[in-house]
Symmetry: C2
Subunit: 212 residues, 2 copies
DNA sequence: GCGATAACTTACCGGCCAGTCAGTAAGTGA
DNA sequence: TCACTTACTGACTGGCCGGTAAGTTATCGC
């Protein structure tokens, strides 16, 4: 008679990742404070009580979302940093291009969340500032240095120029994940990146006999 | 005997501006959702009830904060756009420099608030996207066009390059108003801007007999 | 099958805070 | 100085939501 499918299943292993994914979606839409844990639970196909079996509080869930979304991209960036003999302009273009693309996607909501909640989660803000932003800046500075050392770039101040490479990533992350859904005029990520990298590479290029 | 100062004074004219200023501070620290109207009232030196005499709801107060903080800067930007015969590189440097400086100051919290709350205030988000972002992009595109027309810049795609000029403004606004308070490594706004504008101006400069 | 276990649900609690309103006292003007 | 207006106060409330715990049911070992 009652061979209906069970009302729920035990899936202890899969839950945490599903909850984190659901929470990322929910936070992306409404922000941390405004999303109800009941909504997160519903998106994950569970009840609120179950959520508390896996995460002790809303705050800890938030931290898990940030860490788990960020770490794969951090690892990927590190991997890319691995030695490569390609010319520095191409290398720079590849690294920044990959990050701009990632920022235009799902990962881009993380900066948005962190910026919004920095005041309420100082430890997370410091983690992000040091482990992500500062690390990224060092990476960019090293790439520029490499170009200078190899005679491909002018002798600019690499440390001060590094944020200029981070800026388009941030712009793309926030535009795609906050304003564009409400805007009339879209930005084409590929076109924007092409124009940006064109200017930067021309701007950094070693001079070959011009005014100076 | 009781010549104490009065417990409060009637200051109908001054209240709204004071409340908006207090709210901007409070929102800047904790974000919109997490700030209590009682805190805003205390900062403004009034009671919560008084606040409701001037603003019908927390949402309307938020909108007033955004509009009143933004409009003076918009007007200033428009004014700067006014005809000027200086060379385009200098003009570009002045316009972007002024905006980067403004972003590093008080006005910078507005992008932060809007980005965080875009999902919850679609009309504000659209207003900002169209009236501020899109307008700024058009301004930058026009400046680049001007440089090209006068033979000072290479023939780049002005519309696609425009966001590259907006990016450092955004970076500065969010860095100063969200992450820097929790970070160890500061960014020097002037140094950053100098490096950025150096690269961009070199990158846009008309070619004078080099490889191509 | 048949407990035993633990993954999951549901109903509930308590604190917090936006928003209200009756009352109070600063100002006004005659 | 006194009657009147109104800017302002502050105690209160109603609903919302993070968090909890008692109860229910899938699953697994025997």
């Amino acid at each position: 008679m009652t061979d209906l499918p069970p009302r729920w299943r035990r899936r202890k292993d899969a839950r945490p990742a599903e909850i984190v994914a659901a929470a990322l979606d929910a936070f992306a839409e409404r922000g941390f404070a405004a999303t109800r844990l009941e909504d997160v639970a519903a998106r994950a196909g569970i009840s609120k009580g179950t959520l508390y079996l896996y995460f002790p509080s809303k705050e800890e869930l938030f931290k898990a979302v940030v860490r788990q979304t960020l770490l794969p991209n951090l690892a990927e960036a590190e991997r890319r940093l691995a030695t490569s003999d390609m010319p520095t302009p191409e290398m720079l273009s590849e690294i920044v291009g990959a990050l701009v693309a990632a920022a235009a996607g799902r990962m881009g909501v993380i900066p948005k969340l962190l910026i919004a909640e920095a005041g309420n989660f100082p430890d997370l803000a410091r983690f992000y500032a040091e482990e992500v932003v500062a690390r990224g800046m060092r990476l960019f500075a090293r790439v520029i240095q490499r170009g200078i050392a190899r005679g491909e770039f002018r002798a600019v101040d690499a440390v001060r120029a590094a944020p200029a490479l981070a800026a388009p990533i941030l712009l793309m992350a926030l535009w795609k994940n906050a304003l564009e859904p409400h805007a009339v005029h879209p930005i084409d990520p590929a076109g924007f990146f092409a124009a940006f990298i064109d200017i930067v590479l021309h701007g950094l290029a070693a001079e070959t006999g011009r005014k100076g």
